[in-house]
Amino acid sequence: MKALHIAATGMSAQQMRVDTISNNLANMSTSGYNARRAEFADLHYQQFARAGSINASDGTVLPTGIQLGLGVRPAAVSMQIQQGALAQTNGDLDIAIEGKGFLSVTLPDGQAAYTRDGALKRTGDGLIVNSEGFEVTPGIVIPNDARSISINADGEIYAYFTGQVQPQLLGQLTLTGFANEKGLEAIGSNLFLETEGSGPGFDAPPGTDGLGTVRQGYLEESSVDPVREMTELIKAQRGYELNSKVITAVDQMMGATTQVR
């Protein structure tokens, strides 16, 4: 009985949906996190009687034939690219990106990774790094004697010094944009890597080439909507139960088959 296996594909699909939902809910407070959603597609079809095959000697053809489906498969777990709400933190190195684009950081192996999490820090030498300690491109150093720093919408970082009226320009942050942001590969710690699917990233100053602007003193919150996740969870759980009912019914039918004699 194929119905058993079909129901099993349905159960594992719903299982995967619950996995995705639980990951979203676990990341409800992760800054810069985008909610993910599991997407499904149906599996192959078995052809029993092809549509248009001859049904009788007088040439009558079957109008639709029989195609029996074999269940469901996960098609994608895609990111819902959405602007999260901005939370005011007043941290001088907390920045939120309004619009498209990612900050780029350099991993210890020299590879570039991309993030929307703008909770930046500085090292003992004054280098601007992300929470993991990876250098933020283009490697701006804040002098130790700077009184305060300010970052404008275009990502230009200015430092104020005691006894000086004019601020000093330290450098400008660059953002990286992608043709297909959903194609980026998540590697944890709010970081993404470029893939074939995302296309090559292009670097540009904030506010140009369709990229967003930066805002100092704010952090982008997670875009997970708890109400939506809960309704999805209810649907996934009921879907799981429905498929398990099919398994029970098929089991009983098989029981009846063995009792024929």
Partner: protein, 238 residues
């Protein structure tokens, strides 16, 4: 001649197929753009030896695809499109033109809109849709016209098969059309929504119980028939 057994057998194997269809529907309750499948049984008459004797068997030989509207779920995705009413999206696949109702698209590395399996979405003229990479906001109007920052750049082409019967299914919520397709008159699309599966679990479960009980009935009939023949052999062979 043991006709009763054979007739019951056709019924039982048909029920097994129907069970498979139900399991497939239930497994796809969360599949974007999935269309519910049904099974139609027909009578299959075999002529007997005499004038008045004939034997009818049940044969599950046609299927039906229900094209009712599925529920729309808000996703806010820029390229999540839902069709309201008739029509299908056109996809270009290595096997040729395919239709689908699953409207989840994303730009690929070249900036063209593709579905989750990487098949190109086609516009009203049958060409791929290229999304300008530097567009700040992309908005689609109700008739499927995409505009970037207020400048229209493409219109999603919705079509429907001229002969609805010429449609068969393929994996990945795709439909294959054997004949011609025609553009939909006044297409209605919604951006930021996805059309879910049109499977309603309640009738499916009711059908499932129905099939299961019918199967058990058939099994009882086989059992009785077996006993009857045994009795005949015992009585006549005495």
């Amino acid at each position: 001649m043991d006709n009763a057994t054979y007739v019951t057998l056709t019924r039982l194997s048909g029920l097994k197929r129907e069970m498979q269809v139900i399991a497939h529907n239930i497994a796809n309750t969360s599949t974007t753009g999935y269309r519910r499948e049904g099974m139609v049984f027909s009578e299959f008459v075999v002529g007997g030896r005499g004038q008045d004797t004939s034997l009818s068997m049940a044969l599950g030989n046609t299927r039906q695809t229900y094209q009712t509207q599925g529920e729309l779920t808000q996703t806010n995705g820029n390229f999540d499109l839902a069709i309201e009413g008739d029509g299908f999206f056109q996809l270009e696949t290595p096997q040729g033109l395919r239709l689908t109702r699953a409207g989840m698209f994303t730009p690929n590395a070249a900036g063209e809109l593709v579905n989750m399996d990487g098949h190109l979405l086609l516009d009203a003229g049958g060409a791929p849709i290229f999304v300008p990479p530097d567009a700040r906001s992309i908005v689609m109007s109700g008739d499927g016209t995409f505009s970037a920052d207020g400048q229209p750049f493409a219109q999603v082409g919705l079509v429907q098969p001229v002969d609805p019967v010429s449609v068969t299914r393929a994996a990945g919520t795709l439909f294959v059309v054997d004949g011609d397709v025609e553009p939909v008159f006044q297409p209605r699309l919604r951006q930021g929504f996805l059309e879910g599966s049109n499977v309603d679990p309640m009738p499916e479960i009711a059908r499932m119980i129905d099939v299961q009980r019918a199967y058990e009935q058939g099994q009882r009939l086989l059992e009785r028939e077996d006993e009857r023949i045994k009795n005949v052999i015992q009585t006549l062979g005495r």
